[in-house]
Symmetry: C2
Subunit: 256 residues, 2 copies
């Protein structure tokens, strides 16, 4: 019999409410230990963006914002908070779609991610005027968590920071990777032969995005499970990994 490919996706519970300044790596390692799933070499940890942003104090008080005329106009047409619209524009490198009928802003964030509202949201954030921004550099955040866990537990693992994005063409959101550390975020099949000796056409798989999606199945929204451990997935180790290979270059993108 062939080897049976098998992986587990395990929610990490018992992580305390994050308020800012915490060392996430140490909290995650402790929580994993406490639920009898201590972290091991080769594990992938998928950490949801919200706790990373909160630990990095990326909350933003809308009262500090003076909206521009563009933001005021768009907000009026769409019944949105003009200060939030202004912040979305400020956090964007370019606007891909700004649709005042649907009240949607799809933009390219400073990191290069194309998503709604520059990734800013106000769920699970305390205070009416407080919103949460993406981490400043989510690959750096991922590296920091990885290094900390290695320091504490000696386990060499990969980190994926995930966020929930909408997609073109398909309804429903899905989790994708906005930060990685320790693994090649892409599986490359270029040159691989199929069973008939034909070169495969689909060349690269966005493995980190698929890991983020798999993790969402146990972390879900609105429950206190902000981290998932994926065990049994064989990834390509990469010390200087970033999410850059997951972002299509603007000049090669037919949908901007």
């Amino acid at each position: 019999m062939n080897r049976i490919p098998h992986l587990e996706v395990i929610g990490i519970t018992g992580i305390p409410e994050i308020t800012g300044g915490e060392s996430l790596g140490s909290l995650i390692a402790d929580a994993a230990q406490n639920q009898d799933t201590p972290l091991r070499n080769g594990d992938v940890l998928v950490v949801t963006q919200k706790i990373v942003s909160k630990a990095e104090r990326r909350l933003f008080d809308l009262s500090d914002i003076e909206p521009s005329p563009l933001a005021v106009n768009f907000a009026r047409e769409t019944q949105k908070d003009p200060r939030l619209v202004e912040l979305v524009l400020r956090e964007s490198r370019s606007v891909v779609r700004m649709d005042s009928e649907r009240g949607i802003i799809i933009s390219e964030t400073r990191h290069g991610f194309v998503c709604a509202n520059a990734g800013i949201d106000n769920s699970n954030v305390p205070g009416d005027d407080i919103v949460c921004l993406l981490p400043e550099d989510s690959d750096r955040s991922a590296r920091a968590i990885r290094d900390e866990i290695k320091h504490i537990t000696d386990a060499d693992l990969a980190i994926v920071i995930s966020d929930t994005f909408g997609r073109a063409w398909r309804d429903g959101h899905a989790n994708v990777a906005i930060g990685v550390a320790g693994m090649n975020p892409v599986k490359d099949y270029r040159g691989t032969l199929d069973v008939n000796g034909v070169v495969l056409k689909v060349t690269t798989i966005a493995a980190a995005d698929e890991l983020a999606a798999a993790a969402e199945l146990v972390t879900a929204k609105a429950i206190q499970v902000p981290v998932a451990l994926i065990r049994g997935y064989e990834y390509e180790r990469m010390e200087d990994a970033t999410t850059a290979p997951l972002i299509r270059e603007r000049s090669k993108d037919m949908f901007r």
Copy 2:
């Protein structure tokens, strides 16, 4: 301690080469039994498109095709097989992008999926002129597999048929659902409150797409594992499920 959310993704090995006319449900149930992971109530089976298409004899011989002038022109500019280009056009309900510089056709298939080449490909298919089409109705295919398995094993489970699609904005392909049976393909959070009592903004999660993505982590390309069993995922049972909720209506899509 909270309940620890936990799921397993298990490759189903030992499924024979599919040549056409097979009863997939029975082959999958046998293979699962033979590797000591018999199918159970509540399991999700993710079946890759290629074996479904092959079982349904959706192979197509390009020698039967007379390409149109549009196909001939596009093929000349892009060094493609004009017969394949013609078939892609015939299998499409509408063309979203047809880029002769990159040699890419993104279209809406008859099912409503937006993808490259109308989902047609020639990997893992015998013969130079033979290509593989998507199932005619992949929800129907999923229902047939589900019914068969229920009949044989008495297990009530959900089926996802997956295919590998490119995405807008992000590089790398990922697996998504092109057929479902037995489960609501979408998780709906509308009206759900966060920890602070605020209504969540992200309203729906494309659960079936995330299951397809998770399965890809064990099925992968070019290996003999065309099916994955996902155990431990709590889905909403739905007898008359289809992939329709995963497809954005054209009138609501800003990227067509």
